[in-house]
């Protein structure tokens, strides 16, 4: 109760712009070609296992996981491999990508059969075979998270705290059966006794639906969360749902993880994808993306094959609105998503939004002097003090940054959002954290 009240006061009061929440998801016509990068997850990139000219089908393995912390990559279309070449991704990193020319038939690979799951090991194998990563944005391979042995609570993250995005909302309304079957499988085989589904209170219809569906399920609870960004960040979610605090430093000496307090978090769409895979054997090959913003002609949720270029997604949504000058393309939500330099990037597993802002909406105000109002402190979901950290960073004061726990910054952007002087506070936080971590690796001062 107290924690929930605290959460309602912390974070940023972002506008709840969710215009597409009421529209059913559209299916995108198969694009002419897709470009599928081998790195759509945290960890080692996958190794391409096809060559130019190969015929592939929906669900054909084209990249094998490059290690334990990695994930398989599957073809999202049927067609011919056109090229395997280095690709600069939208975040600036280089990776290898497989370009496929589609044949439009979308034939499913006969190798896609529902997996046989009998225990935890076979479930983890299935999760890995599904190519499942945290599709909420982080892209962390799911089987690595589920492998932990100390878990007593499965948290389903359906907060969807970013403005505009409604993909998780639509997943709950359209695919509640696979969400339930996914949860059931994870709880059963990983022997997790409790499950809490956390949904922000701005989605009452989702709360009602899942509450009624889980009424008979033992150990499963649906929890309405405060409407405060970033409620879906993992540490805030753990705190609001269970009252537990993820430690700053875990028992291993590494940064604390939800597993340190017995929690594992799965995005609601991830768990639903797992449910679908267990039923059909078709891995993670399509992604629902919210296409929104004041510069798109037909805002909507659209299901696209992974690897579809932004350009083709935008065209499928009617293109740029007439009379509007496109200013910015954002992949992800407006708070944490990145700005793309062009529309020639593929949709990844963890992409859930594509926002088109007009020049006017994209224009950012000029920063002015800090008036020390403390709004960044009020806004920080981690209880940090950005105004103090900025000062310590400009002094390059390692000890002070350590005392202020700069390493806990989750880069949610709430401080920048809240700043009345329009200062790029979270960028300074990012620089401070980067500098601190580098000094720490050097041995600290």
């Amino acid at each position: 109760m107290f924690k929930s009240l605290k959460r309602s006061a912390k974070g940023a009061a972002v506008p709840h712009t969710k215009a597409t929440a009421g529209q059913p998801t559209n299916k995108m016509p198969v694009p002419e070609h897709v470009v599928i990068p081998m790195s759509m997850h945290i960890g080692a990139p996958a190794e391409p296992v096809v060559k130019k000219g190969d015929t592939v089908m929906v669900g054909t393995v084209i990249g094998k996981a490059g290690g334990f912390v990695s994930a398989n990559i599957y073809s999202s279309v049927s067609g011919t491999v056109q090229d395997i070449a280095p690709l600069r991704m939208v975040n600036g990193a280089m990776t290898t990508a497989v370009a496929i020319k589609t044949d439009g038939a979308q034939t499913v690979d006969p190798a896609c059969v529902p997996p046989v799951v009998t225990d935890k090991a076979s479930l983890l194998a299935a999760v890995q075979a599904c190519g499942l990563v945290g599709v909420g944005g982080a892209g962390f391979p799911t089987h690595v998270k589920l492998a932990a042995n100390t878990i007593d609570t499965l948290l389903i993250n359906a907060a969807e705290c970013e403005p505009y995005l409604t993909t998780d909302c639509r997943e709950m309304l359209e695919c509640s059966d696979t969400i339930i079957s996914g949860i059931t499988a994870v709880m059963k085989y990983c022997e997790i006794p409790h499950c809490i589904i956390g949904i922000e209170r701005n989605k009452p219809e989702c709360i009602d639906l899942l509450t009624s569906l889980t009424r008979e399920m033992k150990g499963v609870e649906v929890k309405g969360l405060p409407m405060r960004y970033p409620q879906g960040a993992e540490k805030t979610l753990v705190e609001t749902c269970t009252g537990r605090e993820v430690p700053q430093v875990g028992p291993s000496g590494k940064p604390g993880l939800p597993a340190d307090v017995g929690c594992v978090i799965m995005n609601v769409t991830s768990v639903s994808t797992l449910g679908k895979f267990l039923k059909t054997g078709i891995p993670l090959v399509t992604k629902r993306v919210t296409v929104e913003g004041d510069a798109i002609a037909r805002p909507q949720n659209i299901e696209v094959p992974i690897g579809t270029l932004y350009r083709d997604v935008i065209d499928a949504c009617g293109g740029v609105k007439e009379g509007v000058e496109l200013g910015k393309i954002i992949f992800g939500g407006p708070m944490m998503g990145g700005a793309a330099p062009s529309a020639d990037f593929p949709v990844l597993k963890q992409n859930n939004g594509l926002l088109l802002f007009s020049k006017k909406a994209a224009a950012l105000p000029e920063p002015s002097a800090c008036i020390r109002c403390g709004r960044c402190i009020e806004a920080c979901p981690m209880g940090l003090e950005p105004v103090v950290i900025a000062q310590d960073f400009s002094n390059k004061d390692f000890a002070a940054l350590k005392a202020r726990c700069v390493d806990l910054c989750v880069a949610c952007g709430s401080c920048t959002y809240a700043c009345p002087a329009k200062r790029p506070v979270s960028q300074t936080m990012g620089l401070a954290k980067g500098w601190y971590m580098a000094e720490l690796r050097k041995g600290g001062k």
Partner: protein, 318 residues
Amino acid sequence: MEDRLIVTASPHIRDTSTTRGLMGNVVIALLPAVLAAGLIFGVQALVLVAVTTLACVAFEYIYEKLLKKPNTVGDLSAVVTGIILALNMPVSMPLWIAVVGAFIAIVITKQLFGGLGYNFANPALVGRIVLFLGFTSRMTAYVYPDMAVDALASATPLAVADKTTLPLLDVFLGFHGGMMGEVCVLAILLGFAYLVATRTIQATIPVTIVATVFVLTALNTGSAYTALIECMSGGLLFGAVFMATDYVTSPFTTKGKLFYGVFIGLITFLIRHFGSMNEGMSYAILLGNLMTPWFNAWGHQTPLGYKKAKKAKKGGAE
């Protein structure tokens, strides 16, 4: 489709609040007090407010022009300083002294230290204190409004020895002598309500200051009525709402704000009851301003997960 896209770091949206907007809210919150001063003390009060405010804005503009700095008059902080400074003077104040006060506030206290965000003390407050020291007789030349009741016809409520004889309503509405902005409690409370409702300020600082003074005075005098009158008179309420809450010179963490409020309340009480000066509130806020870095340092908030990390470390060492 996409010529010259804008690429910036996230977040891509911003809250609507701006420095100018927040300062504008303070100006709006000050309007009831300005209006009350005009009603109680006549047109001269409004003239004094206008001249002081204009002087503050002019000094800021001229200083920045001379030093070739960016012009920041548009952020309205000089307007806020001007109105607050004017409301800290008795209506009988000669206009030229008001202009001197504006110079001390804007040029000496604010701009010489680097402008908005860098001053260590509230500009209007320093202006008031310097004027008080330099022009003591003018600053205490209170004008007593015609509608004041007998008990208040020749003294400010603070100067009345037995405060239990004072009529609550007259003190509340401000029908007595004093600085222009300080007399009308109703107007100050209206401003306070507006500031809190628009989330311009948090209620923490004003509430802790007034509560501290009330409790200490009630304990010291044994009379809650006296304590109530005391909280409503002198510069306490106006200072607590409009001057102690200045962003730049007050602590930014909640704990720091609590320390600061209690500290100011305590010093005000001590000066009023055991000191020989008037101006208890002014000096209390000034001391509070100087202590602000310490209150910030003592009032750090605990980050999420911080305590448990400490415990884990201990466990590891054992």
